[in-house]
């Protein structure tokens, strides 16, 4: 059994496609592990394997997939980590989930998350926090904490999540796995319960870079149901590059110095040394507006969220708390259904859009966003990738930051500029600091995913990170 679990998803898919491994056996092995989940990573687990084997030659080989609860799955609870959607079973399936199922990755279960993807520790879930498999007294990161913990702990071969300000990359870093946020528009958002529409993107959380490339290849593409999705230029090939000769890494001083935990900084610098040995050039670069990214993000994302979450009114689906009149019903339903962080962001966003404040807050934030995109564009004229630590620190203890929202928001310090610019970024494990995983982030220009994965793969081979301890 443990041998099965130690296979990467790509290795397992190769075996099932070759007829050397029964996909039903593989599904059941993971189903049993997910059902015995002690990390609270899953909010729903499939009862039985899907009927019949995957279609002959299905590239993903029937390797089961854990799906963040933010994705709608037909007939299966899709609660977005919120009590306001408790028991909600949508009548349709999200495009990326459907594409992955068609590619041969059946639904294993739905994973826990911060409510409506608002959080960086998974402590904002309406269904309880997820525990970090490296140390169960610590958080797995968020908001895709359930997906990250499930993959790291070997409860799922691979998973998908969503990233708005770091929600794939930061939990991937804290759990010692790979997490990729694609270019905005690369993957359809149809069926992804919206947090901040102009930032949300689906992406893979996997044990290694090859698995991430395999999943991503089946997630991309224009969807006529999502006007903001785009045809992906070219294909995602499996990464094979072993060196980094001629690759130029830019290290932005704004995101790789002050405020980063020493152990994280050590691992980051060691990885840069490895990159040089692989042939990369490593030079400082500057993203002058990056320090303002967090402020802009915490205006734009809550503003969009304040509108996106208005539909949870108790009228048509989800929770309803009855009251003698309409306004009281709205108020009671939303008071009972939303957690404190969601309420905080709805209020922030509502305020930022208010008449008389719009220009000062939302309008200014959009200008900053444009400047940040411009900063990256300028950097990519001289560099192939921008590299930073993924998270300023390793996994912190449960409850350590819950009393201070602003300290919690700093988790996203290194990951927020990329979604504001719409560009792709990947986090790979670069080693351990005091026994806890550290993430290394690479960001590239829009639609540079193939190159990004190639570079990440070369580094991954050189680093040789061993995550098996978390699967025990």
């Amino acid at each position: 059994m443990s041998e099965l679990i130690d296979l990467t998803a790509a290795q397992a898919a190769k075996l099932t496609r070759a007829g050397e491994l029964d996909p039903a056996e593989l599904f059941e092995a993971y189903r049993a592990r997910a059902a015995g989940d002690e990390l609270n990573a899953f909010t729903w687990v499939a009862d039985v394997a899907p009927a019949g084997p995957p279609a002959a030659g299905a590239p993903l080989g029937g390797v089961p997939l854990a799906v963040k609860d933010l994705f709608c799955t037909e007939g299966v609870p899709s609660q977005a980590g919120s009590r306001i959607l408790e028991g909600y079973r949508p009548p349709y399936t999200a495009t990326v989930v459907a594409q992955l199922a068609a590619g041969g990755a059946p639904l294993l279960g739905k994973t826990n998350q911060d409510e409506f993807a608002m959080g960086s520790s998974n402590e904002n879930s309406g269904y309880g926090p997820v525990l970090n498999p490296w140390d169960r007294s610590r958080v797995p990161g968020g908001s895709s904490g359930g997906s990250a913990a499930a993959v790291a702990a070997g409860l799922a071969p691979w998973a998908i999540g969503t990233d708005t300000g770091g929600s794939i990359r930061q939990p991937a870093a804290l759990c010692g796995i790979v997490g990729l946020k694609p270019t905005y528009g690369a993957c359809s958002r149809y069926g992804m319960i919206a947090f901040a529409s102009s930032l949300d993107q689906a992406g893979p959380l996997t044990r290694d870079v090859t698995d991430a490339a395999m999943l991503l290849a089946h997630m991309i593409g224009h969807d006529e149901r999502d006007s903001t999705s785009l045809p992906f230029p070219g294909e995602i090939a499996l990464p094979a590059r072993e060196d980094l000769r001629g690759v130029r890494f830019g290290v932005p001083e704004e995101l790789a110095g002050d405020g980063i935990e020493p152990g994280v900084l050590d691992s980051f610098r060691a990885t840069l040394e490895l990159a040089k040995r692989l042939g990369a050039t490593v030079e400082p670069c500057t993203l002058p507006h990056a320090p303002h990214a967090l402020s802009a993000y915490y205006l734009i994302a809550p503003a969009e969220a304040s509108a996106n979450l208005a539909r949870y009114d108790g009228v048509r689906y989800g929770l309803r708390v009855d009251a003698p009149d309409l306004i009281s019903m709205y108020t009671r339903t939303r008071s009972a259904g939303f957690g404190p962080e969601v309420k905080r962001r709805i209020m922030l966003g509502t305020y930022a859009l208010s008449s008389g404040y719009y220009d000062a807050y939302y309008g200014t934030a959009q200008k900053v966003r444009t400047m940040i995109a411009e900063d990256f564009r300028a950097v990519f004229e001289g560099f192939d990738f921008v590299v930073t630590p993924t998270s300023p620190w390793t996994a912190f203890e449960l409850g350590a930051k819950t009393a201070d929202p602003l300290a919690m928001y700093l988790n996203d310090f290194c990951t927020v500029p990329m979604p504001l610019a719409g560009i792709p970024a990947v986090s790979i494990p670069s080693g351990l600091s005091a026994g806890l995983p550290v993430g290394f982030q690479l960001a590239g220009p829009a639609f540079s995913e193939s190159r990004l994965l190639d570079a990440a793969y070369a580094l991954e081979q050189a680093i040789g990170f061993d995550g098996s301890a978390a699967r025990r």
Partner: protein, 475 residues
Amino acid sequence: MSTEYEPVIGLEIHVQLATRTKMFCGCDLSFGDPPNTHTCPVCLGLPGTLPVLNARAVHFGVLIGLALGSQIAERSLFHRKNYFYPDLPKGYQISQYDVPLCSGGSLGEVCIHRVHLEEDAAKLVHVGESGRIHGSDRSVVDFNRGGTPLVEIVTEPDLHAPDQAREWLTLLRATLKRLGVSDVNMDEGSLRCDANVSVRPVGSQQLGTKTELKNMNSFRYLERGVRAEIERQIGLLQSGEAVAQETLHFDPASDRLTPLRSKEEAHDYRYFPEPDLVPLVVTGEMHAAAQADLAELPAARAKRFEQQLGLAPDRARELAFRTELGDYYERALAADGHDPVTVANWIPQLVERIGSDADPAQSKVTPEALATLAGMVSAKEVARDAARDVLTRLVAEGGDPRTIVEERGLGSLTADDGGLTEIIDRAIAADPAAAEQVRQGNMRAVGPLVGFVMKETKGRADGGEVTRLIRERVG
């Protein structure tokens, strides 16, 4: 000395577009189908769903803009208009805000401020006596209407009388109908009109405080509502009170205006650009496609009827402002190249018989039949009175007017017809005093004699011809 006041009126018109599907999803539009049978995850606002813009609605929007002479924006934006209401499943309406599809333009004497695209709300049915949300026991929602494509047309405050507002709305309705972009049916709500009304002392250039009138869902109600509001405002000002800026509901049963307390209260809609849609870009091809679909509009048609066909201005407008009448008229003209004025004069006769709202093309009278009948009257083959009877018969049974005239012996009696001369002689014999007066030149006395003849001939004789013959006979 009492001040004279001038009303200032602007209209906001919502028009449901006659596309096949809704604004942002693939559900069919419907009217009168069972509630909640034309819905999908998108128009129900289910979590995770996204809007996709209806290209046909954009085409119609551009078409309307071109018809009104508006500037068509090459790039316009959709915004979210945020408010909570059970008829709005997303908690916001997707509309256009500071960068609308069309700006400026005019129709007749009224300038257009803007034309933009948006989605309709669902329909709330208030169960209870009042039929309004206040005082109802409960409300139920029908999402069939939710997401129907709308254009909102906003005029400048260029109207100055209630009947002028009504007349202008008639022209707008005819224009939209002619474009084929909407059913423009006020009863069914595919054309809805709100009015902004203020008054100011005559000669003043400053606008007074305006009120917004809702529920003007017929042409008559618009005129009555605006008239009642102008009177109310003038009354307030004359008694030294101020007009309060508010939204009023017009009750057609009592002609009373009551302040509306609902979602229409002062709101901060927190508009921001809709992140689920990309900017709307109108390409050269889209522009050209709309241009190609631009039909002759009612105002231009009326002018053509007047200038090229010689119709009186009132008759020209009567036919041109109701597209179906104008179309019917032109088909009749094409069938028989007769005097356009005579043919035009027969259309109101037909309308009178089929009902003022009916489409003559749906009646049993073909345009060809009406043209034939008009031609027969002009050629004096049938007398006017008899022709009216023929028309009544055509409305009831259809058919060919010539056959009806022949079968029923309704053809004109003429002097060559021995019968007519004989009847005229009898008329003179029956009223020699009148005949004597006619002989002395008093033509007013001819009436009773003509009446006698008409009665005897059952209207088959031509009045002018009869008069001429009487004068001839009395010598």
